[in-house]
Symmetry: C2
Subunit: 569 residues, 2 copies
């Protein structure tokens, strides 16, 4: 490829809306261009990277007996009604009508399509296990698309669906998929990825894992134990519940706390640590008027995902306003008049004593509360977010909190979809049963951006060899010099013949200009041909990651380049 003809201009200016490095650098390198909110064009460099990622994914999916298919982007309403998701999925799913007023949707996931395809085609246990997958465009109408290719509305995703005769068989296959994912991220050169247990959300099912790239700019929160390797998404993470029980329980006593309402204010006013106070956090059941009121220690936060699982309903945060029954900032469990509310106490309160709680009247709290003694609560559940330095339930080590980008996920779906959509197979005994499903996703564009986020420096991108858009940046200096020109073009043709992927900077431009483009684009190997190098019959090779800079004889150049590529793929 001649750089002069590449549709994709480099720029020195960061796009004004770019908050993370991969967004800024991919735009500046001319690899991607915004078309509309969350909708991008991938130029040829980005497409080459994406194709390499797709091929690695494809190889690993085929290695675990995946059958590549193509499910439709546009699907009929009826298909999504079969699973029940036409109504339960919100605005993130695009719905529209065709010319005959038929309702259609844009696919954001393809469980329905996979079951639709498999249910006529898989009828016996002898055909199981089987796995179908696709690498296909999807659309999800994200409320907040951002971060370049990290969170978009239109994206290419590999989504895979496996079918099994038993839970044991699913678990066996799930482990194979888990390992395939590990290999995929390794092969595309992603370094800090961990698989964490996760909440399976709208997908249904029980066991699931998310693959998280650990990075400060990630929007997900992950709990890690450096001592034993415990890893979990914050949504499902657990820690040892610290009861903080004092040896002696003081008597319960109402105390004046003036204007103090926030935990920090109450704590300061009374001179007690925040973890000896409790706060009330309220939610509302989505689509209902029911209030969910949580009591939790002042130093802890409510984990909404855990709470949803406990009450088995979707919730939204709500603010309780003052009324004859409630005094905001002074709400407490003793003497609470709230009716028709679901009241949940965090597990850490069960044995707590000497606690400060709201007195349910203006300017007062109650101190010396002993939950076992003073509260008739029965609903103690673990609803707290794990805090940094909390104690690991597995090994007693101290837990770390990290940010991460979700780059892949795998789910044990169970029979949710096969049951709802009436897919059955005959088992060995001749009985009709619903197959058990697993599903497995990776976003291609997000993987691309995640590698960019992790592998870059002040000068630009820095692609791993396995997914680099081109392996070699051939860079003649003084291309107006006849010998340089001739040798550079000769080398270009020979590299192509040797199946080396080369981008040839055929422009008349200064060395600084060329080198900075090369660095920005992140091509792994830079090969410089200049009057000076040719005077010694040499080509200068330099690796983008700084690990090598050497001169090689012109004749040995291609051999050396091939050697470097092989060692790094």
């Amino acid at each position: 490829m001649l750089l002069s003809k590449l549709v994709g201009n480099r720029s020195k200016d960061n796009p004004s809306d770019a908050m993370i490095k991969s967004h800024a650098l991919l735009v500046r390198a001319g690899f991607i261009k915004l078309v509309a909110n969350g909708i991008w064009t991938l130029g040829t460099a980005a497409k080459r990277i994406a194709s390499k990622i797709e091929n690695i994914i494809r190889e690993e999916m085929n290695a675990i007996d995946g059958q590549e298919c193509t499910f439709p982007v546009v699907m009929p309403r009826e298909l999504w009604e079969e699973s029940g998701r036409y109504l339960t999925i919100g605005e993130e799913m695009v719905r529209f009508q065709d010319r005959n007023a038929r309702d259609l949707v844009l696919g954001m996931t393809h469980e329905e399509a996979a079951v639709h395809f498999a249910r006529d085609n898989v009828v016996s246990y002898q055909q199981l296990p089987c796995m179908v997958y696709q690498i296909q465009t999807k659309f999800r109408d994200e409320a907040r698309a951002r971060g370049g290719l990290i969170r978009v509305r239109e994206f290419t995703m590999k989504d895979a669906y496996s079918f099994h005769i038993s839970q044991e068989d699913l678990e066996r296959y799930y482990q194979k998929a888990y390992d395939a994912y590990t290999r995929i991220f390794q092969r595309i050169g992603m370094k800090n990825v961990v698989a964490v247990k996760s909440d399976s959300g709208m997908m249904g099912g029980s066991v699931s894992h998310e693959y998280m790239l650990l990075t400060p700019v990630g929007e997900d929160t992950i709990v890690l134990c450096p001592q034993c390797g415990y890893k979990a998404n914050m949504e499902v993470a657990e820690c040892v519940i610290d009861t903080l029980k004092d040896e002696v329980s003081a008597p319960k006593e109402e105390v004046f706390t003036a204007e103090a309402k926030e935990i920090s204010e109450v704590s300061a006013y009374l001179g007690v640590p925040e973890h000896k106070t409790i706060k009330a956090v309220s939610f509302q059941v989505k689509g209902e008027t029911t209030t969910v009121l949580c009591f939790i220690r002042g130093d802890l936060e409510v984990n909404e995902a855990k709470l949803k699982k406990i009450i088995r309903k979707d919730i939204v945060p709500s603010n309780l306003s003052d009324s004859d029954k409630l005094v905001a900032g002074n709400i407490g469990p003793i003497g609470l008049k709230l009716e028709d509310a679901i009241i949940i106490y965090d597990a850490s309160l069960k044995e707590a004593n000497n606690m400060v709680v709201g007195a349910n009247r203006e300017e007062y709290h109650i101190k010396g509360v002993d939950f076992a003694r003073d509260i008739e609560a029965k609903e103690y559940y673990d609803i707290a977010k794990v805090k940094s330095d909390a104690v690991c339930t597995k090994c007693g080590g101290k837990l770390h909190i990290n940010n991460g980008i979700e780059v892949g996920n795998i789910f044990q779906l169970g029979t949710k979809y096969t049951k709802a959509m009436g897919m059955t197979v005959l088992n060995k005994e001749g009985a009709s049963v619903n197959p058990i499903m697993g599903c497995y996703g990776i976003g291609v564009g997000r993987a691309l951006a995640s590698v960019a986020e992790e592998s870059c420096d002040d000068k630009g991108l820095c692609w791993p060899m396995s997914i680099a858009p081109w392996q070699v940046y051939l860079c003649p200096l003084r291309i107006d010099n006849e010998e340089v020109r001739a040798k550079a073009y000769e080398l270009y043709e020979e590299l192509k013949k040797a199946k080396v992927e080369v981008i040839f900077d055929d422009r008349e431009a200064s060395p600084g200009f060329k080198f900075s483009d090369c660095d920005l684009m992140g091509i792994p190997i830079r090969a410089v041909v200049s009057p000076r190098s040719l005077a010694n019959g040499e080509v200068e090779l330099q690796l983008r990651d700084g690990s090598l800079k050497t001169n090689v004889k012109y004749e040995e150049c291609i051999g050396k380049i091939k050697e470097i590529i092989e060692n790094r793929e």
Copy 2:
């Protein structure tokens, strides 16, 4: 791949709605499954074929310096307003709103996206020519989806867009694209394809070609001259205009024709051949009340595409009803009272004499009309469809009429999009000019179905080696026999090691059952391992196209298979 695990059951029953062979066979072979009108899932066999077609297209596009990109499926209204097509394209384009009430469309072609991407990235003549392309999902809300994968609503298409500094450069590149297309169809094993001149329709521009697979089930009509090779889509096809002028012009005379109104009736009543009568054919300008009335010989049909070009307006067929000005079935050019109508005479009438025309009153026609003598018409144009056996304008040969399926098209677009969307580059002289564009499309699914349509027989599909889903169907007979089982599995593993694409029929089933599945699926090479063949230490090889049936020594089997594959790819 083990056949027992393949998601895609074979069936003996033709789908009831299948009117053409490719539709019936692809469904029966379990390769595709209908999801909604014009929307299909491709199973892994079909996907493998599609991927091979895509790779051949990709190689040929890259060979003419194409830069593969990915443009969005979903695009904002604003982009399509820039080109003016948001309003001019009809119901075939899907329009919808996102959660923020922004208007979006589903792409059915990507000129707008290509110009949007190129206009910031290509700024100088030095970057030209360049070509960007993608292989991507598209959606066109076809009024009449049918024919399996031939005419669908959702489809995968390769669409390419080239940019040029001059018309000469476009024409040079257009020829390269033309040749690349010829190679593509050849490589995917399509045999009866011709490139014909076409009407460029809504794409704008002037010169364009369609690649047509000649087949009786095609919906397009193509005019071919077997003598000189002239080829054109019926929409633009020309022939020598036969004036049919008699030596002596009879006098004009009104004659009683009773109830005779249709050409066949008038011709029979008066005992004159149909080509000595004329008929009136009426249209209406789309969105207006203006009538377009065409007079054409009784034996000819109006070519709407030619007519549209002449009047430069879109038209729809209309029926003129009786009124004080018109007598349907007796309309003629003499004494016609129709006002505010566009009246067009076919070129064949200009010198015609002794013609029968309507008399504009009930039960009467006028015979002996000499157009040069009796009619003051000035608007003679070629608006007739070419008939079989008409005379070729190039060589005087007799023209043939064929049906065809459009499998690809290439257009010289001119500056329509770059002008409308404000894309300019600096030319050599430093002036700002609009680049000239070409565009080039191939539908992947339609190509797949077209090859299937052309390459099949009573038993099933018959894939060319270059795009076959698997190259070898490994077929053990009596797999319950231990030696057969062992040898077959050994061969399966060795074939995979040798990078031969093999589907292994590992089922316990009768030879007839297995052979008919193999034939239906159309796998090029069948390798049979049976107690009988193994008794001689042999494997039986048979080609699906009937060109070879032979026994080879077990040890030589892989070598022979590789040789067959190489000779046929």
